[in-house]
Amino acid sequence: MNPVFDLGTQLSGTINDTLVVSLPHFRPELSLAATIVLLLLCRMLPVARLLDSALVALGGVACGLFFAWSDFRGMPGLDWSGSGAAAISGRLELFGGLLAFDSLTAYIRLLLMGFLVLFILFTKVSGIPDREDGADFYSLVLGSTLGMCLMASANHILMVFMAVEMASVPSYALAGLLKGRKTSSEAALKYAVYGAGAAGIMLYGLSLLAGVLGTCHLPTMAKQLAQLAATGMPGGTGLTLAIGGLMVTAGLAFKLSAVPFHFWCPDVFAGAAAEVGAFLSVASKTAAVALLLRVVYGISVPATGESHGLELAALGETRHFITGVIALMAVLTCTLGNLAAYGQTNMKRLLAYSTIAHAGYLMMGVAAAVALAGHNPAAARAAVSAVCFYLGTYLFMNLAAFAIVALLRNSLRSEEIASYAGLIRTNPGIVVATGIVLVSLIGLPPLAGFVSKFLVFASIMEAVTLSAERPLMLILLVVGGLNTVVSLFYYLRVLKVMAFDPPPAERTAEAFPLVSISGALVTALVVPVVTLGIFWSGLYACARLAGAFAS
């Protein structure tokens, strides 16, 4: 029973929690929400209609980026030297426990906001959306990103589901952006149907988990689960939890486009505009990985407390199960993504399979982190940091790749790999830029992709030596290595077409030169891919701080 109930105390507690604790850490999301309203208001007022909606959106997102950055800078323990001083996650619970605010939230939000700024610039240059659709398009993008920010901080079952829905439903509409085109509407329909189905399955799984554990709050769920596990999962709860967990995994895997829930990804990417593909492949994936970390850690690693050690030990079996599931999916995802990318003739489809493969690498990192969590917290933190670093570099690589596809589409009117033939004769700059991006996606030195892949593989290596999941991690390592080799061929094939094949006879238009607005955009996106390969300590310091969430 409650102690004596006092509405006044309760209310003032809520007001305090909301205004003093929560809202200051919620400013990036708030600025997104405000920008959405502003975008729609601008369309209503005749004077404001002259204003380009991209500018409004850019202003709002820049605001959000500023807040996200100041939040991130405000985290204790940001260590630029990378010397390994223990970072502190600075964990807070916002809005009465619905959201968790810690270094991972701050980092992912920073990535998302930074991505949005670049993305809006990119869409402005590439011309989709045009002026008339601008307000709709940016409302949808910002609304979806709002959901992704919540995905990165969800700490409650409702928020897990709601964030996924908030991120997905506007994306369905985005996939149908080119609404007069058959392929686009088909892509949207497939995405919506599969996405909604996956969300429904996830919800059912969440209901089972919540029902067994008697709470919806993720850290409390971990506590309850530890209690259950300590008593040996009485009364067949183990089976129910496993089924529920697998159903939740299905929903998360859909967002990650992990095998066997990947089939929507190539079709949606091929049917939707390349701009939307960039958004889905970078932002959506970043948020999905963050949510995976949240849920997995929320369930299987109890928060620090007096009985932390006991609970951590009790949850060993759970972590074993989770590691197994994620590692298995990672292996399948990576392999299938890379193998299927071979037969592709369309650049967007190829990038879609590349996205799937990269989701696999990211999941390997997550698996390693979970495997290490019970044995060596420092190594687990390093694994999470590696995943976070990967996300940071992936942002630039994939955005650059999609930007090149979109801008080439504008000038060549085609997204076929074959139509890129012989570009080196007219536009060597573009080919070099493409080459850098693709080589980085393969993960070859000295580019950003190499560093991130190296870090993830190093974590898996560490998991091989330190954790109890030795054979599994070995498999991961081997499969990851083999896949990298496999991926070499299809990425390089694109380069080969660009460099060595004769240009198609019917090509009339020229690709854009590197000295132009489009070229400047590509350059701006490619430069970080190169520099992060050499000067990576800054981003890694940020990623290390993000990894502190796992402490």
């Binding site: 029973m1 928020m159 392929t183 029902g211 089924i243 085609s414």
Partner: protein
């Protein structure tokens, strides 16, 4: 039982004008269970009917019945507000929308698109397997198999409303962990942003595009054939799709 059943009072006090005798109420039939069976049967039966039906309009009708019966289950479980919301938003809003969509597309050949027999068999087997798994998940937890204690639930509208502004006034249920009880102000507020965005998206997709002057990028013909929505297509940036897909869609496009 006093002061609550009021249709009786019409009869007792208005028509008969007799005091109600105070005999002890002995009813062995658990009406809650009977009503549960009724609603559960309706909900499940119509859910299966949705699957079995081939006419999409009938499917929609069965779905209405199924979800309305679900609202009945909510009432029985003590979730009065949720039951009303289910009726109001789900049945009265979402499903009307869905039926609206059915009407818009219900041309004779599209009303019943039959799946092939092999699909049907496969779906039946997969469905049975899934049901078996879910039932196993439900049944294997001991605590859920116990009969309900029949604790009388308090009305939920006010506690729900208070929870939505962030204050929890309901008692924590017996046996529940004490931590992790949160107010729900954030989702309550943020869902409004979501609904706004979604409305914008739906309106964008549904409205015909009225462009005054086509851009240069649109004038260049694309290989995508003019479709049913050619009016809309005229305004869409031209992106040449794969020759294979384009050819295929040209075939399909020629078909109708």
């Amino acid at each position: 039982m006093t002061g609550t059943i009021r249709m009786d009072s019409i009869f007792t006090s208005v028509l008969l004008h007799l005091p109600a005798p105070t005999a002890p109420v002995v009813a062995a039939v658990d009406w809650h269970s009977v009503l549960f069976l009724l609603f559960a049967g309706l909900a499940c039966g119509f859910a299966i009917a949705v699957v079995a039906a081939e006419n999409v309009v009938r499917m929609a009708l069965y779905l209405v019945f199924s979800l309305a019966a679900t609202a009945g289950l909510f009432f029985l479980a003590g979730a009065d507000f949720l039951g009303a919301m289910q009726l109001m938003i789900y049945v009265g809003g979402t499903l009307v929308l869905l039926v609206f969509g059915v009407m818009l597309t219900a041309q004779a050949p599209l009303v019943s698109i039959k799946p092939s027999a092999s699909d049907r068999a496969l779906a039946g087997i997969a469905g049975a397997a899934l049901l078996a798994v879910l039932l196993a998940a439900a049944v294997s937890v001991d605590a859920w198999r116990k009969p309900g204690v029949g604790e009388i639930p308090s009305p939920t509208a006010t506690p729900l409303g208070m929870a939505l502004v962030g204050v929890r006034v309901d008692d924590p249920p017996a046996g529940a962990p004490l931590t992790g009880r949160s107010g729900y102000m954030l989702p309550f507020e943020i869902v409004s942003v979501h609904l706004l965005v979604v409305l914008v998206g739906a309106a964008y997709l549904a409205r015909a595009k009225r462009r005054k002057t086509p851009r240069a990028i649109d004038v260049l013909a694309s290989s995508d054939p003019p479709s049913q929505g050619a009016v809309l297509a005229a305004a869409v940036p031209a992106v040449r799709t794969t020759s294979g897909a384009g050819g295929k869609s040209a075939l399909l496009g020629g078909g109708h």
